[in-house]
């Protein structure tokens, strides 16, 4: 067949066949890449075990949804669309890139399967792909370089700005698109000039435009352009490949794995060490993460995969409140640390404690474990397990803030963080005039156990929730009881604040008490208790949250509700973190509210899985960060006001406390009220 231009494979320069370069470049490129990857694997090999090969079908679904489907990207629309274009483009062009490499020394190479008609379709697609990728790169470059969105900025204490790397890579991608297109365009231009059959370049694609521009160019120049374009594309391609593992573009390689190995169970916390049972815990030299190697290999993979997009930081309530925590930099600092300690070239440096070097104590204590970061991360990075492990390490060292020590000591001595006496745990029942609440145990049993937990039991304002729950259960004719003084704190935050042994003690005491009660099911109004009972407590009867119970009973006709009389009330529902994100209970409370006639409801901008944490539950009530500009509760109340609401409905004693405090200190006293769902139901209940 006659070729319009000499194929790259057949070109010689000063007697040296170009195909030699076409082989050498990939050879050097691939072997360098393999070496770099091997070096990058070392920290994973040294890290702790993490079982991630279970439930392969679900994992594959995740890959299809989050990796291939780019499911989370559109949550930030502009960046999301740009990325989807570049990602799709990369996928499509990957075949072309491979073909190009091989064409360099095997000029007749055709990618298997893409010989005939399929090949034409592919070529059609790839040309548009390259064009859109280039446009996306330009848009992204302008957006990044000139209009820099907030979340990309780097506060000075975290080092230099990252813009250069971002623009550099966009530049590299643009180069690849341009020169691949030039390579094709130069051939087509030559073919047209020589009257040969010209390969089809779809209109308005990059290649098509170049071909038009090269219409009058001499054959010699076209040949030069062709060979040089190939050479540039080949080198840049392999340079890019080797560049990926050095920065945030590592995700190009690792993201598919990161998504496959993602955390499947919401709201859970990893054990102290996988493979070590509870009985064997005493034998461990220490708990938690003190050094890099104490992280699991999946954590290290997370650090590699982080795309530096700042979405986690953008939604983090601790960051919004001005606490010293920015999730993005937890990851970026770790990655930079790994690259420094385990360089591709050079010696591995000795380990040092992470707290005090790359992390500060209060940075780690500031987290409320709300999960907004994990919900937002497009590559499914995890944060909560890392924070819990770092806290375990600090607890092991005794590095616990004094305010938390008080609460922990109280939990150890009295089974509740307030330090109040066990026998007063059920004092809230005393003011219930008509209803006698059964205290279950060995001597008295009940079908349903109402697990109250510490906050609702001991906080005077939250006592109202307990009394409301009792009235609701009573109205539904439920045979229920409480554990009374045998109930200990669920330990939900105790575990998430790193005091694992204390958590296990509390948990085991509660499990005993629960089993002794003979109950068949458990109901609770505290989302933290709900999450603990569901995820952290093995071998107990099924747990339901009061909102689900109420909805059920409304649907069964057991609860009849009066309409809202005041036409000026505008309600909004605040999703508690541990009901919403961690347990996917978004709809039940909303359906309950919507079943009340005349109830006007609006949604805050940040609702459902984007809900903004009220300030945290359990031990977080006792923690005082060294810096904070605003309380999270204050920020949330302002959000409710912006949505036009004057009643905030919550379904959690901690949200109730934080948001009421927020109302008091933002000048909305008397203008906005906060109510627990249970209180509203009781108010509107038709006896």
């Amino acid at each position: 067949m006659e070729m319009a231009l000499t194929p790259v494979a057949k070109v010689t320069i000063l007697g040296i066949p170009f195909s030699l370069f076409a082989v050498l470049i990939p050879l050097i490129g691939i072997s360098s890449f393999c070496y770099i990857m091997a070096r990058r694997l070392i920290p994973l090999a040294k890290a702790q075990p993490d079982p991630r090969f279970d439930r392969p079908k679900q994992r594959l679904k995740y890959v299809l949804k989050f990796w291939l489907g780019q499911y989370k990207q559109p949550r930030y629309l502009v960046a999301g669309v740009i990325h989807i274009v570049i990602f799709a483009g990369f996928l499509i062009l990957s075949i072309r890139s491979i073909s190009l490499v091989i064409i360099g020394f095997k000029p007749d190479f055709v990618f298997p399967g893409l010989g005939g008609f399929l090949g034409d379709i592919y070529n059609f697609l790839k040309d548009y792909a390259a064009t859109f990728v280039l446009i996306a790169c330009i848009v992204a470059g302008i957006r990044r370089g000139i209009f820099t969105p907030e979340r990309y900025k780097v506060p000075p204490k975290y080092g230099k700005d990252h813009t250069f790397e971002a623009l550099f890579v966009l530049g590299l991608i643009a180069v690849l698109m341009i020169f691949e297109s030039l390579y094709s365009a130069s051939i087509v231009a030559a073919q047209k000039q020589q009257g040969l059959h010209a390969e089809f370049l779809p209109p308005l694609t990059l290649g098509w435009a170049f071909a038009k521009m090269l219409g009058g160019t001499s054959k010699g120049l076209l040949q030069f352009i062709n060979t040089t374009s190939y050479f540039i594309h080949d080198s840049v391609f392999f340079f890019f490949l080797c560049f990926l593992p050095f920065g945030k573009h590592f995700h190009v390689i690792t993201s598919i794995f990161n998504v496959f190995f993602a955390k499947l169970d919401r709201g859970t916390v990893k054990p102290v060490k996988y493979g070590v049972s509870e009985e064997e815990l005493d034998d461990l030299p220490y708990f938690g993460v003190k050094y890099l190697e104490d992280f699991t290999w999946k954590n290290i993979l997370d650090f590699y995969t982080c795309v530096d997009c700042g979405r986690c930081a953008d939604v983090c309530p601790a960051n919004a409140a001005g606490r010293p925590l920015i999730p993005r930099f937890l990851t970026i600092k770790a990655r930079e640390y790994i690259f420094d300690r385990f360089p591709v070239l050079g010696e591995i440096k000795p380990k040092e404690p992470l707290i005090g070097t790359i992390y500060e104590e209060d940075e780690i204590w500031s987290c409320t474990t709300c999960g907004a970061c994990e919900e937002e991360c497009p590559v499914l990075n995890e944060y909560i397990n890392k924070i819990v492990d770092l806290r375990r390490g600090m607890v092991d060292e005794g590095l616990v803030p004094q305010t938390l020590q008080k609460a922990l000591n109280a939990l150890a001595k009295r089974g509740n963080p307030y330090g109040k006496m066990e026998k007063k745990r059920a004092d809230w029942t005393k003011s219930l005039e008509d209803i006698k609440v059964k205290v279950v145990g060995k001597k008295a049993q009940a079908e349903t156990l109402y697990f109250v937990d510490s906050a609702t039991s001991y906080d005077e304002r939250a006592n109202e929730i307990a009394r409301s729950v009792v009235k609701i259960l009573h109205a539904c004719g439920e045979d229920f009881g409480i554990l009374g003084k045998a109930e200990k704190d669920s330990g939900h935050e105790v575990r998430r604040f790193g005091e694992e042994m204390l958590f296990l003690t509390l948990r085991d005491q509660n499990i005993d008490a629960i089993l002794n009660s003979g109950c068949k099911r458990i109901v609770t109004a505290d989302p933290h208790a709900y999450n603990a009972l569901k995820k952290d407590y093995p071998g107990i009867p099924p747990v339901e949250h009061i909102s689900e119970y109420i909805l059920r009973k409304i649907n069964e006709g057991k609860l009849k509700l009066r309409p809202i009389e005041d036409p000026n009330l505008v309600f909004t529902y605040h999703d508690p973190c541990y009901l919403g994100r961690h347990n996917l209970i978004y709809d039940a409370p909303r359906k309950v509210l919507d079943s009340i006639p005349g109830l006007k409801r609006v949604e805050m901008e940040r609702h459902k899985d984007r809900s903004f944490c009220c300030g945290g539950g359990g031990l977080m009530l006792f923690y005082e960060p060294p810096e904070e500009e605003q309380r999270m509760g204050q920020i949330r109340v302002k959000m409710a006001n912006e949505a036009g609401a004057n009643v905030i409905i919550v379904c959690c004693p901690f949200c109730l406390t934080h948001l009421e405090d927020g109302v008091k200190t933002t000048g909305f006293e008397g203008k906005i009220q906060v109510m627990d769902l249970t209180e509203l139901i009781v108010k509107q209940l038709i006896e």
């Binding site: 923690y623 405090d661 008091k664």
Partner: protein, 324 residues
């Protein structure tokens, strides 16, 4: 036989501490007929002034003038006291940071019993004395008994006895410097470092005027400050006030703030939530000022005022200044 009761007089810059006028009443409670001798240690002009003041209340004043004592060093004063106090002395010292430093060791060196931090004297029968103390940060009172035949050292909690303001004595000042002797101590005073202005430690305050949300606005906190000043106390607060950034967190009383043990706690516009009240220890005299008569604070307060604090505070401050 009259007992000899000695009262350790504390003074600063020539002015007697309030405790100086209280000790004489404590002494009288122990023994009406006793001759109470004021012990005044110090040096130079300030010492002379203090002795003259003491002589207006005490019939006998023992002056011990030593250059090393321009600042009271318990390690020097203790051996001197051992030198000058006769056998069988009853020695009263205020239970403050100096008394705590001096008295326990003094009782050992004098080989006499020691009753610390006494808030009252129940009775004296012969050589037996029954005093009243508190334990568990003032949550309970106790009667304690001992035999003072050979003497005793007692520290008296400041404010638990009325001061004798009569100034009706014209006491004799006796110079006991020579008898005190020349002593050396292995502890040397260097200097005083003053607390940073604005850094108030509410945990050490005896009188707290504590504001809650009911104070309304940041500007109104000034009303509380005026009252605190008039009372000789300090302003503290509950959490919402800190959240609103009206006061620094170091002023917060409560489970996530400080634990305070004042003698008087005036809760202004505070609802009395458990988290706040839990920070108040030691069973102080609690006054609650709140427009809501149902506020939980009235359960823990001793005395309540159901008025708008913004209006009531200035009235109260005036009265305090008037009646002080």
């Amino acid at each position: 036989m009259s007992r000899e009761i000695f009262a350790y007089i504390e003074h600063h810059d020539g002015v007697l501490d309030d405790s100086a006028l209280e000790l004489i009443n404590a002494a009288k409670k122990i023994d009406e007929s006793a001759n109470v001798v004021a012990l005044v240690f110090g040096s130079g002009d300030n010492l002379n002034k203090a002795c003259e003041e003491a002589a207006k209340t005490y019939n006998t004043v023992w002056k011990i003038d030593k250059p090393d004592l321009s600042y009271p060093n318990a390690e020097l004063i203790r051996p001197m006291l051992v030198n000058i106090l006769p056998k069988g002395s009853v020695c009263l010292v205020p239970h403050d940071t100096f008394g705590i430093d001096l008295a326990p060791g003094l009782s050992v060196k004098m080989d006499v019993p020691y009753i610390p931090d006494v808030v009252g004297i129940d009775k004296v029968e012969g050589d037996k004395i029954i005093a009243i103390r508190q334990e568990y940060s003032g949550q309970v009172h106790t009667h304690v008994e001992t035999d003072m035949a050979n003497g005793i050292v007692i520290t008296i909690r400041p404010g638990s006895f009325e001061p004798d303001e009569s100034k009706s004595a014209s006491g004799e000042i006796v110079d006991k410097s020579a008898d005190a002797g020349d002593v050396e101590a292995k502890r040397k005073f260097i200097e005083i470092k003053e607390a940073e202005a604005g850094e108030v430690d509410i945990t050490q305050a005896d009188i707290l005027v504590s504001v809650g949300r009911g104070i309304g606005e940041q500007e109104n906190i000034e009303l509380a400050e005026e009252l605190a000043e008039a009372l000789g106390g300090v302003v503290s607060c509950s959490r919402p006030v800190v959240d609103a950034k009206w006061l620094d967190h170091s002023r917060q009383v409560g489970t996530s703030g400080k634990t305070v043990k004042p003698k008087v706690y005036i809760a202004v516009g505070i609802s009395g939530a458990f988290q706040h009240v839990a920070g108040i220890k030691g069973n102080p005299f609690i006054v609650a000022i709140n427009t809501n008569p149902k506020a939980p604070i009235f359960q823990v307060a001793d005395v309540g005022v159901v008025e708008d604090c913004i209006e009531f505070l200035p009235v109260l401050t005036e009265k305090v200044k008037e009646m002080k």
